[in-house]
Amino acid sequence: MSVKLSDALLKSVEKPSRYTGNEWNSVIKDPKSVDIRFAFCFPDSYEVGMSHLGMKILYHLLNERNDCYCERVFAPWTDMEEKMRQNSIPLYGLESKDPIRDFDFVGFTLQYEMSFTNIINMLDLAGIPLTSDKRSDSDSFVCAGGPCAYNPEPLADIIDFFMMGEGEEIINEVMDAYAKWKGTGRSRQEFLEDIAKIEGIYVPAFYDVSYNEDGTISSFEPKKPDYPVKIKKRIIKDMDKAYFPEKIIVPYTDIVHDRIMLEVFRGCTRGCRFCQAGFIYRPVREKSHKRLLELANKLEESSGYEEISLTSLSTSDYTELHELTTGLLDEMEEKKVNLSLPSLRIDSFSLDLMEKAQKVRKSGLTFAPEAGTQRLRDVINKGVTEEDLINAVSLAFNGGWNGVKLYFMLGLPTETMEDVEGIADLAYKVVNAYKNVPREKKGKGLNVTVSTSSFVPKAFTPFQWEPQDSREILNEKQMFLKSKIRSKQVTYNYHENRLSLLEAVFARGDRKTCKVLLKAWEMGCKFDSWGEHFKFDVWMKAFEECGVAPYFYATRKREYEELLPWDHIDIGVSKKYLINESKKALEGKITPNCRVNCGGCGATIFDSGICGGN
């Protein structure tokens, strides 16, 4: 029975079309015609979740199966949640409006740590027991995947099973196993045992963890010998053959990325040491420009979108970028489709390309030097020099651009006040570069924006052992930098570092942090990544009540010998390599791009992409 949403209720909430579905290309099936019902949940608002490419892929992939009906579920905004609770309306699938507690699977995509309380809130709204041990045979299986699943431990009590790595194949294997299991009368436990044999499946309840007196982990053991000791992530070997939908949902209401997203490649060869994506998505695997042009045409035709965006971690590194952009510009111009090109390194080729692609005002260009001095950029292996940056901005200023955004991180390992001051120096050098451009060539009125975020050490990076700066030190650095930037042409913005502290806890948290999540939710925390809903003091109280110290996770330096909460997950990059990179970082030694020289990280075991000899 589907839920009843009255007109009066929908009229009383903001943007009701977030809750009514029926968008173009959404998939409607007869629930009676399928064996498996899957609720694909994004633990944030509709606008954020609908912008996520992974969901678009897996939603259509699951719906290609005749035996499966996949529906979308987003976190209702607080006004809608209040109405739903008042009227006893359980969380429902957007397509059928059926309560998701009746579905076979409730799957969450984990894109950022600060969405974890929304997962709990959504389970509660659905009427599904919050923790695995409370669920019985009649309850849905709660599963999860996505980048934050690589350290699954903070959610170990909540999620029945995780899918590690890229989902296109593994999710089908799980569905096949479920189709076989369903109706046999075998137990919930037995299904989990079945799928634990699938490479990439992690069932947290199948493992015992014990701790040392100092709170670190002493052992992590499978409860039975046939459960895997290491869970290997899955990857798609051939991106041209990988499933990609030819239709995507076109929402009614404005979403964050309201355009066609063309995924150019996965992975990144640059090896920036702070960047988790740069390690977990190895090896780099590209789609051919021919396949991308074919997809672009089909998606444009089926969606009517007026903009295509190329997405990847570093689009300038794409081998066939020239062929692809020439082809897209040729075909899309007459269709009046704009090409948007984020994450392009600024050089004469890309500036020329942007000029051709986007008939927009030459306002802002974005650069991410990440650190203020060459020494620190070498520590983090950000292969950008001051000369590179000044050359690039000079080119841009000569081409008429007059706005530059510069992104940095504060609190990187080994950072000193000299490095912080280097950020201001770099901003002034950009201002000087503008002054050196002949008046007739440059745009009027320079605007340089310096933004700093606080460094969050992540699992599976060479910095996974590093402490995060305390909030006191981060505040001091922010204030110091503020005092150093006094030009009218430079604006300084810094991110809230209280959120960064919590991110640092859950990015490297163990199973003990799970009860803090539950407690914080119980005390009213949700939508934590939305400033207006973030309740830092409540979080601190939750830590206190659970007897868990946030600093143990955020600001503690770990030894290489320590058993880390995520050590049982195998991303293909060896721990030995990460230790080696960590040591090189502290010595300020850089590691070249994988395309130049194989660093021996271990990802060759996948025998694919640039590691496959291509």
């Binding site: 009701p16 029926n22 968008e23 173009w24 089926s302 009517g304 979108y305 269709k335 009046k336």
Partner: protein, 235 residues
């Protein structure tokens, strides 16, 4: 260049999308249908589309109008409508299309709109007593309501904006279902929202009420002091 005037409906499936979002729906449907829409010049080219009168959130309609400027003078309105219909989401459907000859812009000429408003009230009045009360309501020289405008709440006399008001009463257990048919001012000069009229009327009658649904049945343009169907006006 020629302009095609289209009459379309908006059903329950799409009654919660905003006017701005509706324009995007048409823009993308036109692109999918590969219709030869004309685009404006400049940095952000806009498709040549003008719509009649925005519909309130939650309101359905069988009388929505839009003017579409196309670059192919040979294309028949029927072909335009058929191709567009294949690409419109459930709930939006083109009912008819005609080539527009008059110079009038649909948005500027809208003058009146007819709505059906279904209201639930406690079963206190009969058809007869209600008729008398409504006649008395309408016989007032002025009917002042608090109208929300851009500059805050303003007292506005709406008597002149009510052209016609009929109703049917249907007892339904402890409830009366009243089905109002209201012809009211619409457009940029004077616009009376049906829920505001019902609020004013029920306030005057002193009855509790709940609006169950609002549905637009007709939209009129003014041409030489006459109210005309927008599809008639074009020829």
């Amino acid at each position: 260049m020629s302009i095609i005037r289209v009459k379309f409906k908006r059903g329950d499936e799409v009654k919660f999308i905003s006017h701005l979002d509706l324009m995007k729906v048409f823009e993308r449907a036109i692109r999918r249908a590969r219709l030869p829409i004309a685009y404006s010049q400049g940095f952000n080219p806009h498709p040549g589309m003008v719509f009649g009168l925005p519909l309130g959130v939650g309101v359905t309609s069988e009388a929505e109008y839009g003017d579409f400027e196309i670059t192919d003078d040979e294309m028949s309105p029927q072909e335009f409508a058929d191709r567009l219909n294949l690409q419109l989401p459930k709930g939006i459907e083109v009912l008819s299309a005609k080539k527009k000859v008059s110079k009038q812009n649909i948005m500027a000429t809208i003058a009146a709109s007819e709505y059906i408003v279904i209201v639930g009230t406690p079963a206190e009045s009969s058809q007869k007593t209600l008729k008398a009360a409504i006649d008395k309501y309408l016989s007032q020289e002025e009917i002042v309501v608090k109208k929300r405008t851009k500059n805050g709440v303003k007292d506005t006399d709406i008597r002149g904006m009510i052209f016609d008001l009929n109703f049917e009463l249907q007892p339904c257990g402890t409830f009366n279902i009243i089905r109002f048919t209201a012809l009211v001012s619409a457009g940029s000069k004077a616009n009376l929202k049906p829920d505001l009229l019902i609020e004013s009327l029920c306030g005057y009658l002193g009855i509790e009420y709940e609006i169950d649904r609002i549905h637009r049945t007709k939209l009129f343009v003014r041409s030489q002091d006459q109210l005309l169907d927008p599809m008639e006006e074009v020829v």
